[in-house]
Subunit: 329 residues, 2 copies
């Protein structure tokens, strides 16, 4: 049996079982970031790896973009816990023929993202390799010390999402079909969403304080990450597809390449928005606070005791269409 | 210009300059691990990446060995600061056709090493890739909070090394020349040294308390890592090659494959012993304490104000013969 037969989901489950359950008050594999004790305190720890050819292509954007994204997606894991990033290290694997300019660009992109989210890039490791890859590991801390897990949703909670969805996937489609790396014309906003993701750190911290009971970042697409939140919480949901905020960046790309905009928003990954649940009575106040920082908060459905459904259709059937890294494509 | 023209040393320097100097009381790129502040405390952060084909081959050992080594070499970075590991995350990149048994083996090896050095493996990330690689990032803490840096050596200090050298390189040679993965007969101890390295955590903590002024782990070979210690400290040294403790595992491999045992000990990497400096008057007490835990401590030379020399020959000329990952071999 090889890993493609298990799929990413199956492999992650298998690894989590092997690692075993976390002690009381700790969080290990199975959430956006791990939570571990530290004298007088606790800290959050997470890592993400980007691999050339699969997660990025240097001819699709600049090396700066890749460095930025490697940091941004790792920051997003901490944002999804309602925490802030503090320090990062990076492991860089690269072929001997990699131009030094590429290494400089990766570093500059990582440093720009580190500056944006006020963390320090403090070191790393180098290795040779036959393909370029970049693993970033990060330490973070909660503002009030209470991280928001994936497992806290309760039936009756409202299900909400920050910002808008589908833009990053539209950008990926534009790149795959040859829109290139130029300003991109109509596809420009979608390309920016794909190449230069933004992590919702201030939003995550605010939502943690505003009563978010469960939270996850949307890295692999709404239907996949929604499934993870529901599985971790042991709940179901009813999501109204008509309520899902579709990124305005999707429309021009969808028109040109024949995509369904709503499906792009539901299945597309890499938007790095936050999906969360909270008591219905708290949503209006959270929305006002978030809008004050320029970020929409949209109620897209309800947490239930039943199955997890989007538009009446069970998540499992949606997932088959969605992005899983290890499946042959 | 590509990275092979710069070499690993040149590239690391370039990256460290780009990252910039650390604030007061912090340590960033350029030591074994980074040291950063944490409320009421500080923590150490480090990462190492192993790449198939370059850092390991699955037909040379088991997947368990690779998982073990990925954790052990990262623990060693913390040992070299006189610190203990606490928590780790791992980024695993793997081809879709990787057997699930290999993933299980990697995890089991990581967990065995985590248990050995009493740290928790708390999560990670998965990605597809065309070759297998494993990046481990780790958080650690000093026993008394004062990490031992590379930069603390002073002229007049004694230069000492734990354990014995050359075994891991002898093991690599045996593997490269086809000794295989069986028990290995006479090469067995060398293979064990290469495939299942031991990190000197208790020794590092003890030495930090016993007055070690500068310390580094021997990952890339004595002449390379000695150069790093001297460069960081702005000092030179005189090392007596005759005093360097050659691993008994070297001799049978050297005899069979025509190696020079002393050169293997001086140039060979991956022994993960500790190289340190301390005042001459403190060496005897440190040696007794270390011997009580079964680990030899050997004085191999003196820190000077002059050039860095081994057997009267400057380090630069030794380095040309030594292992640098990014140089074509």
């Amino acid at each position: 049996v090889n890993v493609s037969a298990l799929g990413e989901h199956g492999l992650l489950d298998r690894i989590a079982r092997r690692i075993g359950p976390a002690p009381a008050l700790e969080v290990w594999a199975g959430d956006d970031a791990a939570v571990v004790p530290w004298p007088h305190d606790r800290l959050l720890l997470t890592t993400d790896v980007l691999v050339e050819g699969l997660d990025f292509r240097l001819d699709w954007g600049s090396a700066r973009d890749v460095g930025w994204k490697a940091v941004a997606v790792t920051v997003s894991d901490l944002a999804a816990m309602g925490a802030r990033p503090r320090h990062a290290v990076a492991s860089l694997s690269l072929p001997a023929e990699t131009p030094v300019d590429v290494v400089d660009g990766l570093l500059d992109g990582m440093l720009a993202a580190a500056s944006r989210w006020r963390l320090s890039l403090v070191g790393g490791d180098l290795s040779g390799a036959s393909e370029l890859s970049l693993a970033v590991a990060m330490v973070g801390a909660g503002d009030d010390g209470r991280p928001v897990l994936r497992s806290g949703a309760r039936p009756g909670d409202s299900l909400c999402v920050t910002g808008s969805l589908g833009g990053a996937r539209a950008g990926l489609v534009a790149l795959q079909r040859g829109e290139g790396t130029a300003e991109g014309g109509e596809a420009g906003p979608a390309l920016a969403r794909q190449l230069r993701p933004q992590a919702r750190v201030d939003e995550g911290v605010l939502l943690a304080g505003a009563g978010a009971r469960a939270m996850i970042d949307l890295s692999d697409g709404l239907v996949v990450d929604l499934g993870r939140l529901m599985d971790a919480s042991g709940t179901g949901c009813d999501v109204d597809p008509g309520a899902v905020p579709v990124d305005r960046a999707v429309e021009p790309v969808a028109r040109r390449w024949g995509l369904d905009p709503l499906e792009t928003a539901l299945i597309g990954g890499e938007d790095y928005e936050l999906l969360l649940t909270m008591e219905e009575s708290l949503v209006a106040a959270a929305r006002s606070s978030l809008e004050a920082m320029g970020t929409p908060l949209t109620r897209i459905g309800l947490v239930t005791e039943g199955a997890a459904r989007v538009g009446g259709r069970e998540l499992a059937s949606w997932r088959e269409e969605s992005w899983e890294h290890l499946r042959p494509r």
